[in-house]
């Protein structure tokens, strides 16, 4: 593949599932369900198109059932698309799955590829064989990644004795052993505590930066997206809602700022259009300001007219809210019988 080619390229990718649904709760409906189900076709992915350049770190965002995991499975060659084209590292995943498997890594946060009763080193050695890696090079790779991911004695500790965060670090190492050019991560920080999350994010960013590994990360945790990725692809009902830099996502969809004022007065009364008082009292007032309606300066002027301001903090609304607004604006799911 020429170096300028996209690492991932999707064109009009579609995938539907046939789902049996109960006809109703009545006795007749249940009896009929015993003999024939009411089959409906649900579009999991609907004409999805995007491309990812080599070395990019992309957050793949969507609510539950948006089609993220289905897309990832099609990219890994586990599922076959119904229509459209998909190429990963120049290969067609559904036709060249094994060839592609040598070049991609996958991490599924709620799944495990480590052998539960054995230390991770045993799984690492198995994967060396599975990926046909020369044994000496493989041992060096295990040592390098163990050092980067600070595994230390964990590689020799049975998996059942590891904490979730430790296990997840081992899972990521397992996925990187064959030096993949592309890494698909599905909720890699799910269930982890704050410090374990921070560590995983930092390690993913560093690994991708150092080896120019392309990352496609799905997560419900906006912290993962912001710390690791520079670009976001948002989908809902299998359709593309947004594709661009995370900073642009904020700028485009962020019509409001969160402002906290610490004043000499115990509470401030700010009855301005586009200003919502989120909390007020104890010399602290928290506001949400729709900047298109009322400029920030006008709000500050109004506050200063009531009391002296001792301090002020201005924040963007959380990315969660931006994404929620995006989902809310998306058209409903397509279901056909």
């Amino acid at each position: 593949m020429p170096p300028t080619a996209a690492a991932v390229e999707l064109k009009q990718l579609s995938k539907s599932f046939r789902v049996g649904r109960p006809r109703g709760t009545g006795v007749g409906a249940r009896l009929r369900d015993l003999f024939s189900r009411d089959i409906q076709t649900v579009a999991a992915v609907d004409k999805l198109s995007f491309s990812i350049a080599p070395g990019e770190r992309v957050a793949f965002i969507g609510p539950n059932g948006a089609g993220k995991s289905t897309t990832l499975k099609m990219l890994a060659g586990i599922l076959q698309p119904d229509a459209g084209d998909v190429r990963v590292l120049g290969l067609v995943p559904s036709r060249q799955r094994r060839q592609l498997a040598f070049q991609i890594g996958t991490v599924f946060g709620q799944r495990s590829q480590l052998w539960y009763q054995l230390p991770p080193r045993d799984t690492f050695e198995l994967l060396g064989r599975v990926y046909e890696i020369e044994p000496r090079a493989h041992r060096r790779r295990i040592d390098t990644l163990s050092s980067v991911f600070e595994l230390g004695t964990l590689v020799n500790t049975p998996v059942r004795h590891l904490s979730l965060g430790e296990r997840m670090r081992c899972e990521i190492v397992a996925s990187l052993l064959h030096s993949p050019r592309m890494l698909f991560l599905d909720e890699p920080t799910i269930g982890l505590d704050v410090s374990a999350k921070a560590m995983i994010r930092e390690l993913l960013w560093t690994e991708s930066e150092r080896d120019r590994v392309t990352l496609l990360l799905t997560s419900h945790d906006t912290g993962d997206m912001e710390r690791v990725c520079s670009r976001a692809i948002v989908i809902n009902h299998g359709r593309l809602l947004w594709d661009g830099p995370i900073s642009a996502l904020r700028r485009t969809y962020l019509k409001a700022k969160r402002v906290t004022l610490w004043s000499e007065a115990e509470r401030l009364e700010l009855m301005l259009p586009g200003v919502r008082v989120l909390s007020s009292g104890s010399y602290r007032t928290e506001l949400e300001i729709a900047l298109e309606i009322t400029p920030l300066g006008q709000v500050v002027d109004a506050a200063l007219r009531q009391a002296a301001i001792r301090d002020m903090a201005i924040e963007d609304a959380p990315l969660d809210e931006v994404i929620r607004a995006l989902y809310a604006a998306s058209p409903p799911e397509g279901v056909s019988s």
Binding site: F17, L79, E132
Partner: protein
């Protein structure tokens, strides 16, 4: 298949054997179960013989027959449970994503457990049967039972793999396994040599793989074997081929199923 590809499956078998050696409690459970079963049946056959009821074989050799059939059965790991759990948990996405055959990897994984269990359970079978009967079949008979029993155990495991693949369609494969297992108990002659069964069962059993899996390998300890070694080799090859074809076909269908209904 290249040497590197073979090495993958050897590695699956090796790691699985390592894990099986660590999971001793299950093996100990099987050994205790084995001893209890043989103890109960040796008492039963003794009582039958003392009551003067007609038994077509020496009660001592019947205990050794049961030891052989149980050894074959208990050595085969129930890999359908592991496959079903992997599908339920979703871990199957990792296994399907590896550059290795899912079916061969599962087979090798099961085989790793089998090579740990079979010698230990075999030794348990011999010790218990000898302790309960004070008698041993000719060594030549035992030497014939061992390789045939090992192959039969492997084939039972391969059939379990096929049952496990049904988890791509069914929520729970246990009912299918139970039906299959009960058929094997009856038509395979688990407790009694097939020669002691009614004629219609013997005739029905001929059309199934079960006699080749249990009754035929075990019957060598009776002195009057069900089939000749040559005929048993042919039968095991035939049923291995049928099983391999069926499992391969099912897996291709299963993958199509994943495509239709999602992972």
């Amino acid at each position: 298949m290249t040497a590197a590809q073979c090495a993958k499956y050897v590695a699956f078998a090796r790691i699985s054997a390592t894990q099986a050696r660590r999971e001793r409690s299950e093996l100990y459970g099987r050994m205790v179960f084995f001893a209890v079963i043989l103890g109960v049946f040796s008492s039963l056959w003794r009582a039958v013989a003392e009551a003067g009821m007609p038994v077509a074989a020496d009660p001592r050799s019947l205990v050794w027959y049961l030891a052989a059939t149980e050894w074959i059965l208990l050595s085969a790991p129930p890999i359908h449970i592991e496959i079903q759990e992997a599908i339920r948990r979703g871990d199957v996405v990792y296994r399907l994503g590896h550059p290795a055959s899912f079916v061969l990897a599962e087979f090798a994984t099961g085989f790793g457990v089998l090579v740990v269990r079979a010698p230990i359970l075999g030794l348990t079978a011999c010790l218990c049967a000898f302790a309960f009967t004070g008698w041993m079949p000719p060594l030549t008979a035992l030497l014939i039972v061992v390789p045939f029993g090992f192959v039969a155990s492997t084939l039972i495991m391969a059939l379990c793999l096929g049952i496990g693949l049904l988890a791509f369609w069914l929520q729970d494969v246990a009912p299918v396994y139970w039906v299959w297992q009960k058929l094997m108990f009856v038509l395979g002659g688990l407790m009694l040599p097939l020669a002691l069964y009614p004629a219609f069962i013997q005739q029905a059993a001929v059309f199934t793989p079960f006699p080749s899996l249990l009754a035929a390998p075990a019957s060598f300890v009776l002195g009057t074997s069900l089939v000749t070694p040559g005929a048993l080799i042919r039968s095991l090859i035939l049923w291995s081929g049928v099983t391999a074809f069926a499992v391969g076909w099912m897996f291709r269908r299963a993958i199509a199923r994943v495509t239709i209904n999602g992972g």
